[in-house]
Amino acid sequence: MEKRVLFRSKWLPWVLIAPQLLIIGIFFFWPAAQAVLQSFQMEDAFGMSTEWVGLDNFRTLFADPTYLDSFYRTAIFSVLVAGIGIASSLALAIFADRIVRFAMVYKTLLIIPYAVAPVIAGVLWIFMFSPSIGVVAYFLDKLGYTWNHLMNENQAMALIVLASVWKQISYNFLFFLAGLQSIPKALIEAASIDGAGPWRRFWNIQLPLLSPTTFFLLVINIVYAFFDTFGIIDAATHGGPGQSTSILVYKVYLDGFKALDLGGSAAQSVILMCIVVVLTVIQFRYVEKKVQY
């Protein structure tokens, strides 16, 4: 029997969602509107004079070939971060789900990176991989592989992907673990009785049942790679060598918060915002069809 709640009152639903609307309004729509407004202006750092420049900020950006290059870099970066992040945390969640002894210890250890600030994460990895003093770089050198992300663009990209994935793994892990634990044990047991091995059980039962979680994490991870990784990049590579790790959000951060070019930085955030809106629409329109709730 289905039970449905009907609101007869006209104002009660509004009151009930008011706190949420208020928070979204203040912390999302208002700043977003401000960014759009600023992107049409040129302003000195202290806000003493503001000039309306129309689409000038956008024109400057699209006339800059290095800015256009960074779309390509951002695409590679976010696909790598989301892909590797989701795959590796799923694997970890499956292992953690099977463990019987000391499960709590493993889970806690896996969650710890989430408490680390992005900049600290960047610094941590830079210490391990620093060509002069890094432990990992030292051992790679012993193995005959020269690590120098200050000169080698691919290595620099690998470094920031690794650091970003590491930072996000705990978050993904938590959701996957919760998802795995909510799968009814009876299903797994029935499959085992039918003779399905662990791999088959995972592929035919667990993974399809995890698809809503995976989809949610895909959206979250793409947004994370787009917006939350500037601290890691700033600490680890400063966008270098050349511009090889300067993804879109890093330039927003650099121009806005370090160089105080507010108009230019706002224009970039507006572009970034549009990209994420489009990506999210695509995800919900096409990828979500493959999700079974």
């Binding site: 003493m48 006339a63 400063h238 270098g240 370090k258």
Partner: protein, 438 residues
Amino acid sequence: MHFKRLAIAAGIAATTSLSAHAVTDIQWWHSMTAVNNEWVNDLAKEFNESQKEYKIVPTYKGAYDESMTAAIAAFRSGNAPDILQVFEVGTATMMASKGATVPVGKVMADAGVTFDPKAYIPAVAGYYTAPNGQMLSFPFNSSTTIFYYNKDAFKKAGLNPDKAPTTWPEVFEAAKKLKASGHSCPMTLAWQGWTQLESFSTWHNVEFATEQNGLSANGYKARMKINSPLHVKHIDNLAAAAKAGEFVYKGRGSIPQASFTAGECAMIQTSSGFYGDVAKNAKFAYGLSTLPYYSDVKGAPQNTVIGGASLWVMAGKSADHYKGVAKFFEFLSQTKVQAASHQRTGYLPVTMAAYDLTEKSGFYQKNPGTDTAVTQMIRKVTDNSRGIRLGNYVQIRTIEDEELEQVWAGKKSGKEALDSIVTRGNELLTRFEKSYKK
């Protein structure tokens, strides 16, 4: 009855306002860490103990760019500090933001404190002075680029440890010998834009940008000029050294410095403010010397460009705050305070008197090489060497890093990279000009 109550209230109000006025807190936001943080705190403490009216409250607000961003946010919400330490790269931004700051010359004059900009080392005073001759910010911790080398490594490579290479060919020669003696990193460079483009230009008395490197009255119209044959030749020479493993790139900003103190790199060009670190941490004999130059360039060596930071007075404060700021600056201007600061930190003595006092005290004889930064600066400055003050300079420095990295990695020639710096930099300068003209 009613009157009595009012009188009591007034009395209470009077006493509380009296106690609030007894000491005026002067907020000072800065970016000095470790040894230099102690120095700043000591200065504040000494001033606070010297009088009863004002209290300087120094607060560390993060690195230079962070504290500037913080102060701007605070200014926009009406809570700016009284004094803000701003790095040289932010000077053009501060100057362009008229109304956000009060010129130091005015603060001093209003408070009736005598202040003589002529007492300052010309290259320092010139940098922080408006074209109309008014000093805008108070020179505090000015530094310049110098050359450090590892004497032990020199000895091992069969080089004379008591004589630093003075020209670029000599530096490259020394790097070759260091490499041959098994040194994995003969030379590195910190702050490559500052040392190899900015200081390099003033040191060789060549133009870095038009409009006297941005210091003229029309400074906002400046455009970059660093793709001259001399600049190209130099960057190509460094690229060749990089290819041969004689110059090893160790990253942006001050990051390469650690490889010198660790003994990994034998030669480095960086800020004179690095001296405190070397003196404390280097476990080898080291030498300080002037930046190398090309002897065939006419007018070289001239003087190097200043770095470091100055103190800006923020607008919108009450008169007693400005009086306190003026008193504090008067305290900082004293020759003995300046000389002590210079000897403690390796930053420049910003006045000639402080330099003379330090010399008389025998400090330079006891610590050979510590006068390098000063002797590089106290020359007659030319239009090419007064300093470099360009708008959007934080972004331009990043462009310099990006392009030079491509050269060190062998992906671009010196000419290609410098042309690209000029093109990309000029776009930012055009933007600055637009926002400045209003």
